[in-house]
Amino acid sequence: MSIPAIAIRSLGFSYPRQEGIHFEELNLEVPDGIRFGLLGPNGAGKTTLMKLMTGLLKYKKGSIRLLNHEINDHPKSVNKLFGFVPQDYSFYSELSPRENLAFFGAWYGLSRTEIKKRSEELLEVLGLTDVGDRFLGTFSGGMKRRVNLAIGVMHQPRVLFLDEPTVGVDVQSRHAIIHYLKGLNQLGTTLIYTSHQLEEAEELCEKVALIDDGKIIAHDHLAALLKEHRQDGLEGLFLGLTGKRFRD
């Protein structure tokens, strides 16, 4: 049996001195090599769970293992195994895409030759070669999202966390990003993805987990979930399981 990309066991977490999201005895497993969607309404705990899985937050109870490495205890070198594409733009807008990729490439521990080769590959495949030397501050939202993604996959991670990677982009950029992510998955990268774009999630994800109020309320292959809950699409399933109450 292969090692899961993510294995969460009996996770307990709450923000100190804050009300809101808390996890109690949360269990979740993401098999290696799949495209996994973590979906839920605002405030359900998606981003918090993603921060816990990437080591940005520390948990006090339970276990999160990434490719069999306990996240709380692992040395920094294990961070080479995963990539993270945060919802916020995570680059220096005073620099160009090439300069950003050179900087983050060095932080991933890549050699100068690897950085150069990988930068050109990514700029090409994400349609950024011609603007590779322009300052990011002048870019459109779609171009910025593609650069944000390129930085996250610079080191060819085995697991890629994507927090709303296409929010605020046009159809063309969304198409390019989704197309690229599918190709990346075919090469063996596990995708763990959160989004409010349910059509996009339906198109991208093989397996989904629905999370609400810090609890996993459904977790299976998308087709199985739709069949089980007698729904035609993800939106109907989502509303059926999480209700129509506003969560903001």
Binding site: F82, D88, A102, F103, Y108
Partner: protein, 426 residues
């Protein structure tokens, strides 16, 4: 090293592309040093070269009042504006409020009579039997009305004291002259010869001023030697405004979240910022010293003479720069917003500057403050710069200062590490 090098390149590029930031870091300190040196230079010249306007009202009808006016003129410190004898005290106040002068002197109407009476009393006591002379010590017929010195409240006490001292010396000349004349005529029954009178009154032993120097050189301190090094240190520490807020901005930005998930340590980013900002502070100092040395003589300011021990100057400048960059990063780590970093950073530097002796010389501070100033890195930097720029010192003379700066810097770094760990940033 590859990560650190990439971080330094990134920080340098971001810095160089922020033209307004560069202007603030280089142009503003130069402007500050020029303005402060010009202002201080005018004070130097006011005392040394320019004359202070003095309103003088001689209500004395005798010769001594006129002699006193002449003695005041001979001091060379004042430009006298003689007032009409009928002018009243409140009218003098009005003229001073109109800023005609910051100081005025009124010679009372009995000034000559008092001086002559006092001189003759002293002469007769001096020539009488010693026992009876001591008994007669309270025998003076009259105490003269005092001279009135009006001064504007804006005048600093030390400046007022030096004017008062100058007026006292003029009065002493008049009194001495009268006493010498009385004694001579009492002993010789004739008037004192003019040559002897001149020798008695003006044959003072001259005072030669020698600035203390470690190297034996005789560079006379001027406003540039005093102010340029002091305000250079202030400018170096003022990087807290740009660097502190830059650390906060990075901390709250998306790029920091990504950096935390990468295999390299965030300490690389902090070391990179220190290296870059040590370079910045070093360049700031180099630019300011170059301006003092090359530009000042062309804009009417005294030239800044660079110390002979350039390695010593470089080392102390690097030590100050390292401390300044460390302090700025520490402020950035503990601040939640750029506004907090800017506000706290700027005010704390002014406080440390005051404690360090930039605003008031440390020797003039109360004893308890003199103990407190040891915690200010600006104090150790300033003392070292003064040793090099004013006293002709060498590296060995400032090693204690470098060591003290290093200890303070390491303390700041430890505090920064504590802050980073406490906030789960490393």
């Amino acid at each position: 090293m590859h990560t650190l090098k990439a971080s330094i390149i990134k920080d340098l590029k971001i810095l160089v592309r922020d033209r307004m930031g560069l202007l603030m870091m280089f142009f503003m300190p130069v402007l500050l040093v020029i303005v402060i040196t010009s202002v201080q230079n005018s004070t130097f010249e006011l005392v040394n070269n320019n004359k202070i306007t003095l309103l003088a009202c001689n209500r004395d009808s005798g010769p001594e009042g006129t002699r006193l006016i002449s003695a005041i003129e001979k001091i060379g410190m004042f430009r006298l504006l003689l007032l009409d004898t009928s002018i009243r005290d409140n009218e003098i106040s009005v003229r001073m409020h109109a800023k005609d002068a910051l100081v005025a002197v009124v010679i009372p109407d009995d000034f000559s009579a008092s001086i002559q009476q006092r001189a003759s009393d002293i002469a007769s006591r001096a020539l009488s039997d010693p026992d009876s002379a001591s008994k007669e010590k309270n025998r003076y017929a009259r105490q003269p009305d005092s001279l009135l010195m009006f001064y504007h409240p804006v005048m600093q006490p030390s400046f007022r004291q030096s004017i008062k001292g100058a007026l006292h010396s003029a009065v002493q000349v008049i009194q001495g002259e009268a006493i010498a004349k009385s004694l001579y005529s009492a002993v010789n029954s004739k008037a004192i010869p003019p040559e002897l009178e001149k020798d008695i009154l003006f044959g003072q032993i001259p005072i030669t001023e020698i600035p203390v120097s470690r190297s034996g050189s005789r560079v006379v301190p001027n406003a540039s030697q005093h102010n340029v090094p002091a305000w250079t240190i202030f400018a170096m520490f003022f990087v807290v405004v740009s660097l502190g807020s830059s650390v906060v901005r990075e901390k709250i930005s998306g790029s920091f979240i990504r950096l935390k998930t990468l295999p390299s340590s965030y300490l690389n980013a902090l070391v990179s910022k220190q290296v870059v900002y040590i370079m910045v502070t070093f360049l700031q100092a180099a630019v300011i010293f170059a301006v003092g040395n090359l530009l000042f003589p062309h804009i009417g300011l005294p030239v800044l003479h660079l110390p002979k021990d350039i390695p010593g100057l470089i080392l102390i400048t690097l030590a100050c720069g390292w401390c300044a960059a460390s302090y700025a990063i520490c402020v950035g780590v503990f601040s939640e917003t750029p506004e907090q970093a800017n506000g706290f950073g700027a005010i704390s530097i002014v406080i440390l500057a005051a404690l360090g002796g930039l605003l008031v010389p440390s020797f003039a501070m109360p004893a308890n403050m003199q103990q407190l100033l040891r915690v200010s890195p600006l104090h150790w930097g300033l003392e070292a710069y003064y040793a090099l720029f004013l006293e002709g010192g060498k590296l060995k003379d400032v090693l204690t200062n470098i060591l003290s700066l290093a200890i303070i810097t390491i303390g700041i770094q430890l505090l920064t590490l504590y802050g980073l760990k406490k906030k789960n940033l490393i």
